[in-house]
Amino acid sequence: MNLRRYSKKKGFLKLIRKEYLIEKGFFTLAMVMIATVLLMFAFVVIESLPAFGHSGFFNFLVGLRWSPDMNIFGIFPMIVGSILTTAISLIIAVPMSVSCAIYLEEMAPAKLKDYFKPVIQTLAGIPSVIYGFFGLTLIAPIIRNIFGGSGFSILTASVVLALMILPTIISLSQDAIKSVPNQFREASFGLGSTQWQCIKYIILPTALPGIITAVILGMGRAVGETLAVLMLAGNVSVIPSSLASPIRTLTSNIALEMGYATGIHYSALFATGVILFMVIMVLMIVSTLCSK
C-alpha cells in the first residue's frame, strides 16, 4: 500500500524517468558500436560480391593464380602466406615472451622489473613502418647471407612479426602470472618445492588461460599486420617452397593493389578482405577450442 502511494508521488516518477533515460542512452551507444561492426562487415561483403560472382567463391578460395590484368583471381597462396607467417612468428615469439614474462614476474629483482616495463611499452609503441625498416636493414641481409635469395622471405617477415607481437604477449602473460594468488606460491614452497617446480606445476597451469588469451591476441596482431610484412615478405603470390621463399599475405595484397585497382579487380580486393575476416575467425575459434 505504502509503496504504491509513494510511487505515485512526483519525485519518484522523475527518478524513474531519469533512470530510464540513462539506461536507454547506454543501450543506444552500445548498439552504435555493434552496428558499426556489422555495417563494416556488410560493406566489405557487398563490395566483394562482383568478384565472388566472377570467379566463384570456391575457385577464388583455392585458386593458385592471382593475375589481375587477366582477371584471374585465386587467393590460396596468400591464405597460406598469412597463416605461415603468423604461425612461424608465434613459434618464435611465444617461448621467448612466456619465459620473459616468467622471469620478470617470478625471478627478476624489483628494480629490473621497473626498468623493463617502459622498454616493453616502447616496443609496443614503435610504428610498424619502423619495424619494417629494421627488418629491411638488419634481418633481410642476414637471411640473404644464410639462405641465399633476395632476403625478402617468409622467415624475414616472421622474425620481424615475432618482434612486433612480443610486447603484447609478454605484458598480457605477465598479468596472467601476476594474478596467480601468492598463497599458491607459499603453499608450494612450504612443501619444499624448488622455484622451478613451483613455476612448472603450479604457476604456469594456473596462469595458462591468461597466457593463451595473450597468445591469441598476439596472433590476431600478427595476422592483421600489413605494412612491415609488405616491406619484408617479397610479395610474390606463389605457394612457397622453403622458408627463404618470398610470399604474399592477404593484408599486403589489399594494401599493395588498392591504389590502382578498378572494376572486378577492385572488388577482388574486398573479397580478399572477406577471406581475411574468415581466416582470423577460424584461427580464433580453433585457438579458443584448443585452450579448453
Partner: protein
Amino acid sequence: MFKLKINVKNFNVSFSDNQILKNINMKIPKNTVTALIGPSGCGKSTFLRSINRMNDFSSNFKRNGSIYVDGEDIYGENVDVVDLRKRIGMVFQKANPFPMSIFENVAYGLKIHGLKDKKELFDTVKRSLKQAALWGEIKDKLDSSALSLSGGQQQRLCIARTIAISPEVILMDEPCSALDPISTLKIEDLICELKRDYTIVLVTHNMQQAKRSSDLTSFFLDGEVIESGLTKDIFSNPKMEKTEDYILGRFG
C-alpha cells in the same frame, strides 16, 4: 623427558628498519604442541615463518641470531632451504589448496620429491587423508576439485598435504581463524592426534584453543617473548602481569 627439537637463540628479525622480533629465546621439545599467543602484530607469525625460512622471500628481511633444529643452525651456510621446508611443513591461516583435484593436492608434495610409484603414491595420499580425518568425507570424490570443499575440509586437506611428505615439524599459522566451531574442534582433535608423530608449533588468537590443545605456551608482545612455560601454568598461574591481562582479555 622431552627431547629438544627446536632451539631459538637470541633471534632478531627486522624488515627494512622495523624491528619485528627482539632477542627471542625459545626451546621447543619434540612431540609437543607449542602455542604462540599474543595480540595482532606482535611478531608471532613472523617468528613462525622464520622457522621454515618463508621470510626469505621478502627482499628487506634481515635477521641475526640462530634457530637450531636438531642442533643444526637453519640459517647456517650449508643449509638446503628446499630440504628444510620439506622437513618443516606449514599450514597457513587461509586454507590454500591448489586449483587441482583433491588427490593431486596431496600427491603434489610427494611428486615433487620424486615419488613416482602409483601404488605407493595412492597409499600415502590415503594414509595422509585418513590421518587428517578427511578420508571418510571425500573418499568417493578424490578427483573433484579441491576448491569445491568447504572451508574446514580445505584446511584439513592442507594439513593432509603437509603431513603427506612426513615433515618433522608442522607450523600452523592460525589454522582455524576462518573456520566454524565444529571444523575448529575437528582440527584441534587432529592436532592432538598429530602430536604423537610430529612437533607442532601453533599460532592462535583463540585462548581456549591454546588451552585445549597445547602443552607449552609462549606469550608474545611487541616482538618479545614475555613469558613461556607449560600451558597449564601460564593459564592458571601466569607470572607476568601482562600475560595475565592478555589471557583474561583485558587488552589485545
